[in-house]
């Protein structure tokens, strides 16, 4: 819209600025808190400007004992756990849903649509709903306190299968026919033609699923008892209640800051592909 209406401009900008402030202020406070020492954070009023303890806190959080007086894992390990789990979940989801969408769109087999709807129905069964039976299964398979246990129950994805199905349906039939005349078998067609054609969709989905995996809270909390398997998101909450002492805000806030970095990195680095993947329809 090319209009010249100063009042409307002012109001839209005001709304935008308020929105930015509402999002950015808590992050700013987190950052400020992460840059003071423990004693300053226990005093009122809370500081609004950064202090000089950022590096000290960073070192202590990442490689030190973390919170004093507890037995939590060092934060670098939690970061690694979270990263590994998020990558396994997102890559696993993408791999499985690509293959199942490929089967549903390009192969004729009995009960094809029934299979599709069965996959689709799992949308109604997120992990929170099936948490007890899933826990039972994972426990019986001996996957408690393991990366497999963290990721496998979350790895099937109806949403992603559905999305890839829609993407594959937009690929013209001639593409498949042309590949058949060229002599490409089904898997060859999948690797050489379908995967490159869905590149942007894969990227967009990866961003969403990575954040989904990274933010998992309930499931890791349930199946990891070993502190060496804790993920960073669940540990932030635990830190608040850790040991019978007042919370060490500087360390907790530093941990929170660190927990935000990987998702931000993923979003920013894949932003271009992400937007293309969600908007581009031309095949």
């Amino acid at each position: 819209m090319v209009e010249n209406r100063p009042l409307a401009d002012f109001i839209t900008h005001l709304v935008l600025v308020l929105g930015v402030v509402a999002i950015a202020l808590p992050i700013w406070i987190t950052f400020v808190a992460a840059s003071h020492d423990e004693i300053r954070m226990a005093q009122a009023p809370l500081p609004l400007w950064p202090g000089d303890q950022l590096w000290v806190n960073l070192k202590q959080t990442l490689f030190g004992e973390g919170l004093s007086g507890t037995e939590t894992a060092p934060v670098w390990l939690m970061l690694f756990n979270s990263l590994f789990m998020a990558l396994m979940i997102s890559l696993g989801k993408i791999g499985i849903s690509l293959l199942s969408a490929f089967a549903i769109v390009y192969f004729k087999f009995p009960f094809r649509m029934a299979c599709f709807w069965m996959i689709f129905i799992t949308l109604m069964l997120p992990v929170e709903v099936r948490i007890l039976p899933t826990f039972e299964v994972v426990a019986n398979l001996g996957m408690l306190n393991s990366y497999w246990g963290l990721s496998i129950p979350l790895i099937a994805s109806a949403t992603a299968t559905f999305m890839f199905r829609q993407v594959f349906l937009t690929v013209p039939d001639e593409m498949l026919e042309s590949a058949r005349i060229d002599g490409a078998g089904p898997m060859r067609f999948f690797w050489d033609i379908l995967l490159p054609l869905s590149r942007t969709n894969i990227a967009a989905l990866f961003v969403i699923l990575f954040i989904f995996g990274w933010n998992q809270y309930l499931w890791p909390l349930l199946i990891t008892t070993d502190t060496s398997m804790t993920t960073i998101v669940m540990s932030i909450k635990q830190m608040l209640e850790a040991a019978e002492q007042s919370p060490q805000w500087n360390i907790i806030m530093m941990t929170a800051l660190l927990a935000m970095i990987p998702p931000i990195f993923v979003v920013i680095s894949m932003q271009k592909l992400f937007v293309q993947g969600l908007t581009e329809t031309d095949k």
Binding site: E177, S178, R180, I181, D182, I193
Partner: protein, 351 residues
């Protein structure tokens, strides 16, 4: 190089039969055009030869070998699609090389073939571009290049020019013809455009409703259409068809006019007169009340009705005749240019 034989070929989708007992012998190096209105089954027939559709009954032979059960890639064919079906993420070179790469040819051989084809089609400077950076005509060339590099026994074209603008279409039409003559590869070309069909084909197969109406050279089809459908389909403007009475070579048109034909048919007939065969003649038997004139420059089309009746007629006369509108014009016609059809079976009556 190979000949193709279609024997009693039938295609059904469920209970619906869409192609009925197609027979055809295609000689080595021949350019065959399958032509017909949309929905007549011409693309299905082509796709059956390609192996993209299964054969319900009958047999397809390529080079004397039954191919019904063979995968498309094993039939030694190449196909050019209407929307080109180029792989959008591959460069022109990769597009052309893909089939060869799968057949595990050596890198040198692939490069040699791709560059040779690129030279033939004059697309060498585009080899490293992506299809989306090319114009429609260039994409069409790449699609043909992809067919050429495979060095197949048969080329199959599925309406390859219908996405191009009129001028480019004429140009590409000539190029396809020249290319086919140069390479001498047996080709089957599907189109709904009768001009394309007439100019390209050594022989034309006219399909209508899943039946072969006629299979012959363009001139045979024009001079001696085997049925009313072919008569109306081939030639532009379409042939005038008038229900008439015949008795021993004399044909009586409604409205009283009489023309002679070289046959001795009797009874009800459908008389076919090509607009361009009506010769202006002040004493001619056929009289037209002209209502509208289309001036095409080289010739003029006179649209009107057969005098004294409501039968629409078109005549094509050489040169300019702007003043014809609203007047009555008379024409004569040579007896051997008169076509007669049976009104029931719609088959040709005169030899």
């Amino acid at each position: 190089m190979a000949d193709i034989t279609l024997t009693d070929l039938t295609k059904s989708y469920g209970p619906t039969e869409v192609l009925h007992h197609i027979e055809g012998d295609i000689n080595d190096g021949e350019f065959i055009v399958i032509v017909g209105p949309s929905g007549c089954g011409k693309s299905t027939l082509l796709r059956m030869v390609a192996g993209l559709e299964t054969v319900t009954s009958g047999e397809i032979q390529i080079g004397g070998k039954r191919v019904n059960e063979l995968e498309p890639s094993a039939r030694d064919i190449a196909m050019v699609f209407q929307n080109y079906a180029l792989y959008p993420h591959m460069s022109v070179r990769e597009n052309m090389a893909y089939g060869l790469k799968i057949r595990k040819l050596s890198k040198d051989e692939i490069n040699r073939r791709v560059e040779e084809a690129a030279d033939i089609l004059e697309i060498r400077q585009y080899l490293d571009r992506k299809p989306r950076q090319l114009s429609g005509g260039q994409r069409q060339r790449v699609a043909m290049g992809r067919a050429i590099v495979r060095d197949p026994q048969v080329f199959l074209f599925d309406e390859p020019l219908s996405n191009l603008d009129a001028k480019l279409r004429v140009q590409m039409r000539l190029e396809i013809r020249k290319l086919q003559q140069r390479l001498g590869v047996t080709s089957i070309y599907v189109t709904h455009d009768q001009v394309e069909a007439m100019t390209l084909g050594d022989r034309l197969m006219v399909l209508n409703g899943g039946y072969v109406e006629q299979f012959g050279t363009p001139i045979e089809l024009y001079d001696r259409p085997a049925s009313v459908f072919v008569a109306g389909f081939i030639g532009s403007p379409a042939m005038n068809l008038i229900p008439s009475q015949a008795s021993g070579g004399a044909i009586s048109l409604p409205g009283g006019a009489q023309v002679n034909s070289a046959t001795d048919a009797n009874g009800d007939v459908l008389l076919g007169l090509r607009p361009e065969h009506l010769t202006p003649d002040e004493n001619g038997p056929v009289s037209i009340d002209v209502e509208m004139v289309e001036q095409l420059g080289a010739n003029t089309l006179l649209h009107g009705t057969l005098s004294g009746t409501n039968h629409e007629m078109v005549a094509s006369v050489a040169g300019h005749d702007a003043a014809a509108s609203g007047t009555q014009r008379r024409f004569s016609i040579s007896p051997d240019l008169v076509h007669l059809f049976d009104p029931q079976t719609e088959k040709r009556l005169n030899p």
